[in-house]
Structure formats: structure tokens, C-alpha cells
């Protein structure tokens, strides 16, 4: 039992497998680190919601290679992103930029929250507090006493 628990705990420590192969990596750890950062932000164009670092697709591999070539040539991170956007459009960015076509995407959620929250607040304020019931009349008092005495 103890061994099983240890085994299960060990699985929690395992890092998710990357598609980046050792042969692709740059010898310079700093550059390779930047390549990883960028690779996590770039979307594989044939797998919809996987980054190029996670994807084993042919195109993703080419994109990883291009990222490393650009970095080795001295590009800044923004230049590498621009290089990819020039070829594949904003689609390639896992985090879409804030612009005319995407404002609804960025502001939609907060806006709905604001509207719904506001409506709830107004409804809560309007709701009347429950009125305290009128005290018992004399007749009722008498009946109550009679019932309790029985």
C-alpha cells in the first residue's frame, strides 16, 4: 500500500512530455530557454489548441526550428512573434492581441459579469424585507391560551 501511494505521488512530479526533441535544442541554455517561452505562446497551425512545443506535427517542428534560427540570428522575442504572425496571422498566437476585431473577446467576459452583477444588486435592493406579522388580537390570544391549557 505504501509503495502504491509512493508510486502515485511520484506520477505527480512527472513533467508533461514535450514534443521538442533533443536534436532540435540549441546548445546555449539561455537561448533555448527563450525558445521554449516563445514556443509555449505559439499555436500549432494544424492542431487548433496545442502550442508548437506540445505538438508533434510536421509544421510545428518546422516552426520550432524557425524560432531557434531567428533567435540564433539575434532576433528579439517580439521579432520572432512578428515573423510568425507575418506568415500565419494572429491565429498563431495563443494569446490573441487586443484590437478592433478582438475587443468583444477580451471585454465580453468582464462586461457580462458587470451587467449580471449589476442586475443582481438592483434586484437585491428592490426586494422588500419580510414584514413582521401583526400581533395577535385579543380573540386570538384567548384561543391560543385555551389550546395551550388543554
Amino acid at each position: 500500500m505504501k509503495r502504491l501511494v509512493a508510486l502515485l505521488l511520484a506520477t505527480l512530479l512527472v513533467a508533461p512530455a514535450l514534443a521538442v526533441e533533443p536534436s532540435e535544442m540549441l546548445p546555449d541554455p539561455a537561448l533555448e530557454g527563450r525558445a521554449r517561452e516563445i514556443g509555449r505562446e505559439l499555436r500549432c497551425v494544424v492542431c487548433q489548441n496545442q502550442s508548437i512545443d506540445d505538438s508533434a506535427a510536421e509544421v510545428a517542428r518546422d516552426m520550432r526550428r524557425a524560432v531557434r534560427e531567428r533567435l540564433s540570428a539575434g532576433d528579439k522575442d517580439e521579432q520572432v512573434f512578428a515573423y510568425m504572425v507575418a506568415r500565419y496571422g494572429d491565429y498563431v498566437l495563443l494569446k490573441p492581441p487586443f484590437k478592433a476585431g478582438t475587443w468583444a473577446l477580451w471585454l465580453g467576459g468582464p462586461l457580462v459579469l458587470l451587467v449580471a452583477g449589476g442586475a443582481l444588486l438592483i434586484a437585491a435592493r428592490r426586494r422588500k424585507l419580510p414584514v413582521a406579522p401583526a400581533p395577535l388580537s385579543e380573540e386570538e390570544q384567548r384561543r391560543l391560551a385555551a389550546l395551550l391549557d388543554r
Partner: protein, 179 residues
């Protein structure tokens, strides 16, 4: 305000969603489509070695000849390429279209054998073994086809195989109009 109007809110939401779904179905909205940023812009650089032996490498000059060209990325291992191949053969033979074929991630000898077996519609053919030209062209896979006008501007980008309908409705008018 009539409070009963509030009861219509769920119904209105349903109607809104139904409308959106109906529009998606009828207008052919494809959420998986990644579009193309190349359309309307000058074609990316073309710098690829020739697929056929003893031919000069392909250069940008081919895209700015004043005549419209079709650029088709293909591979012998790609089944949809096989499906669209007869259309290119016809475009080249019957319609005299200038087609540039680029074998993507395909061993040259295998691409050549494939073309020998099926017929070669390409006036110029390149070999992009490592996919570098493909990346410059924003390629996501094969087959993909670009229509480039005489001034070297990309006018259309098909992702996936072209169909008879694409030929009739887009490619033929493009070839006639751009001449």
C-alpha cells in the same frame, strides 16, 4: 415595467443562439479555418531548388512574369494531392495555366516517380525537402494552392485540395481576368 416581459428572456436567449447556429450552418462558417494573411499581399520569396534534375532553381522572377501563376504545394505521400492532381493536369493541358509545383517534405526521387506515374502538370517544379519555403508561404500542410497574379500579388490561398468547383468558380475566372 411589465415584469412578465422578463419571462421572455430565456426564450430570447434561445432564439439568439438558434439564429447564430443557423447562420453558422448556412453561411458555411468554419471555426477551424485559420485563414490566410498572404491574400492581397506580395507573394513570399521563392527560393527553392529544382525538383527535376538539370533544371535551374526556382526564383521570385517566376512570380513576376506579368502572367498569373498557380503555386501548388504537394507531396507523393499525400492522398488529397492525388485527388486534386487530375484538375491540375487539365488546367495545364487544356487551359494552358502556368503551374509551379513544390514537393513539400518529399524525397525528390519519390516526388519525381509520382509525377512520372500520374503525369507532370508543373511548368516549374521545386523540392522543399525541409519545409523552409513552406513556412515562408504560411503553409500548414499539403496540398495548398496559391493564385498569384502577374504583379506577384497573392490573390487566393486554398488550404486543402482544390475541387472542380474551385476551378470553375475561382481559378478559371482568375486566369482569364488576370491575363
Amino acid at each position: 415595467m411589465n415584469r412578465h416581459l422578463l419571462f421572455l428572456l430565456p426564450l430570447a436567449t434561445l432564439a439568439l443562439m438558434a439564429g447564430f447556429f443557423a447562420w453558422s450552418l448556412l453561411a458555411g462558417r468554419d471555426p477551424a479555418s485559420i485563414g490566410s494573411v498572404l491574400v492581397g499581399r506580395p507573394a513570399p520569396r521563392l527560393e527553392v531548388k529544382a525538383l527535376r534534375e538539370a533544371e535551374p532553381p526556382l526564383t521570385d522572377a517566376l512570380l513576376k512574369s506579368g502572367k498569373p501563376v498557380i503555386v501548388n504545394f504537394f507531396a507523393s505521400w499525400c492522398t488529397p494531392c492525388l485527388a486534386e492532381h487530375p484538375l491540375f493536369a487539365r488546367l495545364a493541358e487544356r487551359d494552358g495555366a502556368v503551374i509551379i509545383g513544390i514537393a513539400w517534405k518529399n524525397k525528390p526521387e519519390e516526388a519525381r516517380a509520382w509525377l512520372k506515374r500520374l503525369g507532370d502538370p508543373y511548368k516549374f517544379a521545386g523540392a522543399d525537402l525541409e519545409g523552409r519555403t513552406g513556412l515562408d508561404w504560411g503553409l500548414s500542410g499539403v496540398p495548398e494552392t496559391y493564385l498569384v497574379d502577374g504583379q506577384g500579388i497573392v490573390r487566393r490561398h486554398f488550404r486543402g485540395p482544390i475541387t472542380e468547383r474551385d476551378v470553375n468558380e475561382t481559378i478559371m475566372p482568375f486566369l482569364k481576368g488576370a491575363k
